[in-house]
């Protein structure tokens, strides 16, 4: 079982976490077309590679970011969601 480094709770087993999929920016609901909106809702890029994902440590209810390489099944980094704008911009 994998160990995930929770930024709040330290290293914990995978069993204690759930994932909510990739961090994705919703298009502006007031200006986007129906096609853009449904693409956001239903389409996911399943190409293996480095993904930035939402993960939750369920006992503490803490959501944070996991960057992992799905091609190599390797966790590259975990950090608090507050760092997301800086990291995502980089």
């Amino acid at each position: 079982m994998k160990i995930i480094q929770c930024p709040l709770n330290g290293p914990r087993p995978l069993l204690e976490f759930v994932s909510a999929g990739e961090v994705r920016n919703a298009p502006d609901p007031d200006t986007c077309s129906d096609n853009e909106w449904t693409a956001y809702l239903f389409n996911r890029a399943s190409v293996p590679g480095v993904k930035r994902e939402w993960w939750c440590h369920t006992p503490s209810g803490y959501w944070f970011i996991v960057e992992r390489d799905t091609a190599r099944d390797e966790i590259l980094a975990t950090y608090d969601a507050a760092e997301l704008p800086a990291r995502a911009g980089a």
């Binding site: 079982m1 994998k2 160990i3 995978l14 759930v18 909510a20 919703a26 609901p29 986007c32 129906d34 909106w37 449904t38 809702l41 939402w54 939750c56 369920t58 209810g61 803490y62 959501w63 099944d73 969601a81």
Partner: protein, 939 residues
Amino acid sequence: MMYRLPAVAGEWIDRSRTLAFEFEGRAFQGFAGDTVSSALAAAGEMTLGRSFKYHRRRGIFSFANHDANNLFQVGHLPNVRGDVTALEDGMRISAVNTRGGLARDRARFIEWLAPFLPVGFYYKAFHGRNFPRWEQRIRAISGLGRIAADASRERTPKRYAFCDVLVVGAGASGLATALSAADAGAHVLLVDENARPGGCATWTGAAAGEVETLVSRVVESPRIELLPGTYVAGVYADRWVALVEPSRMTKVRAGAVVFATGVIEQPAVFRNNDLPGVLLGSAAQRLLRRHAIAPGKRVAILTANREGYELARDLRAHDIGVAAVLDLRADPGGDSYGLGDLRCVAGVVPEAAMPGSDGAVRALRVRAGETIACDALLMSVGFAPASALLSQAGAVMQYDMALQQHVPVKLPPGFFATGRVNGTYDSAARRQDGRDVGAAAAAYAQGGHAGTHAARPERTRPVSHPYPVFPHPSGRDFVDLDEDIQVKDLLTSAQEGFDSPELMKRFSTLGMGPSQGKLSNLHGARILVRSRDATLADTALTTQRPFYHPMPLKHLAGMGFHAHRHSSVHDRHVALDARFMTVGGWQRPEYYQVSGQSRADCIAAEARAVREGAGLIDVSTLGKIEIFGPDAGAFLDRIYTGSFSDLRVGMTRYGLLLDEGGIVRDDGVIARLADRHFYFTTTTSGAASVYRELLLWNTRWRMDCAFVNATGHRAAFNLAGPRSRERLQALTGIDLSETAFPFLAVREGRVAGVEARVLRAGFVSSLGFEVHVPFGSAGAVWDALMKAGGVRAFGVEAQRVLRLEKGHAIVAQDTDNLTNPFEAGMGWAVRMQKPFFVGQRSLRIHVRRGARQKLVGFELAPEQVASGAAIRESNLLIHLGGIAGRVTSVAQSPTLGRTIGLAMANPSLAAPGTPIVIRASDGRLVSARVVRTPFLEAE
């Protein structure tokens, strides 16, 4: 023929304790410390099993847990491995895979059919229309032990463990590693699948003194836990390792893992290399030093390394006659030193082993026609690394041409290899390498950084013959004894295009038997690459997966443990003879059994009690969430479809939660307790996930509010019915009058002396109060409410009927993952004009597109009910010969005396009064009529 010797120094058997057992109906005796196979060998039994496919006689071959042809039925236990299973007094043992006993196995005729059963024949022959017939036939013939369906259940404990360094293999290398890691301060777990530590020193006797010293230091070390008789079944992510002990599985998390797994001796391939009496040299040494068993009186040794000559010296030291040492190499070098009086032949090419009248080996014929008489033929021609676990861990193995062995060239962080599996054979070098690796592994486990272990030490001498394969034109030259696979089978596979190890494995079943190719994969690959003019250096072997040895299912079976939650007044429900059902992990009263009454009557009586007086239901299982902060109202506006920032303090409002696709996800009641404080409920099954989802949304939105999941903090009871007000008023100072406590209001105060939040609710009846109290005080409140007089407890089933009468849909029962709120008749709860809420964008599309279905109320015509037509949930609506919807809820209403229900129907059928047809479970078409909801306007 094998026989027992007088006491051998260091033997594992206890000659003072005799064990009696039965084998194939005959009585035998062995000693404590014997395995099943060794006890039989000591009695001179050479044939211990029949082979899987051709039912050939097979004896001891590896004596190292790879003897897939020595599987036994012991009582109700199938496929017991004779080479490693300790003998017990009174065992009743028989060979598996025979018809009519081991000696006269009637299925041995199959060998004569062999010419008609070439490799892959079953892929080609047994398909198509006749497959089921063939399958039946083959099943009758094949298979190993019997499963006793009436065997008692064995509970097998599971344990979790942690260590800094896990060392796999307690030979010289592993022992040195463990000591070195412990010296560096690490807590070490040292496991070995053999019953005793010491590795090959326990059977070759080489450097036995030094190894004994290591063992005693390990035993004395307070930081090393030694687990003999334990194998590693699998290596999983982040050094999560499954250890299997005889009666327990341990899941261990290791800071670093060192593989000191050693090597597995490989057979030579030639005609009749499977005869009883033909076995590995190391197998003979294990039998000799552990169980004092001689392989025979006139032993021939087929060798290609120094180990074969050491074996000859070892046998002679124990007064066992050696007929000859036959070396495959043209030049044995100095390996035969000191064996001048012994017949040593170099450059031998084995042609065939020859069976005697008992089926065991009596001679070996070599090329040039000579025949060497022998009653045992020991093979010492090379080794393969025991690298399956390394491969599971992700190691990259490469074939070293100088060593003729695969060695790890790249190991993932935290994994180390040492000793012979790493290509180091010299015993002093192994101890030094072990010390270095132990220090490096401890450093990794303690610091998490890569250790300083240098590149693998130099390899001293080749010990493995590059190609000990001597095919015979007439076959019976076995590469894989598990599955009776011969050289020609592999060549045919390659010719048919299955010319990579992975493809060849699937087509020929090489390496797919119980020993998983530990004695055959390497030779199979050698044969393949030679036929392709390739080399092993550029050929990848097959992927190794868990489990290392076949795993008894008892270790994999769960404990039959199902966690469920009890509400604060569970004991009251039990006292009332509640019949429980599981809802969202909780045990909820389905109804309360009244003795002498049917289930339906109990439910109907409970429902009537609510309609006519007052009923009490435990709704503690509802999710309960508190939200605090200046942005609390604004946050709820964005989450739920309704508007909450404008909700007055002291009032509640229905909350409908959608997903981003506009699908109904959850619902509840949201109460505003203060300007910056809301308290709200979710469905029972949605409690955990809705709370988590709210946290995610606010992690994204960063609004100024905070959440508390109060689901377990508070119990909640719904007192419902026309008399609920007067019953509750007697217990509380809160003014419950219509003017002071209107519909949808919420009040805080005391009920039965306990701090409570009281919500006016209308889910099951027009008048009702939900009382939310702290979990610990809930029992007193329940008791007070029940004692109020004229209050009857009701369960989930009655609640379903009551809410159906009121026309209320239940999320996830009357809606599904395709239902939007307009289709479910919940459009009234949606404020589309709000600037934003989750799901709003999608609802705009849904609104434009129009409803594809509508949730409608229906009732059956009275004559249909009288005819006994039973409609159930999920029955289909039929219209114009097609499916036009489905029933989502249906019940016999005790109040109305009619069968009523909700159905998700085609919008064309939604108008009240429309006749509809429902296909009942028994296929009958039942007519019904769409009606307006609620079915019951007011009580």
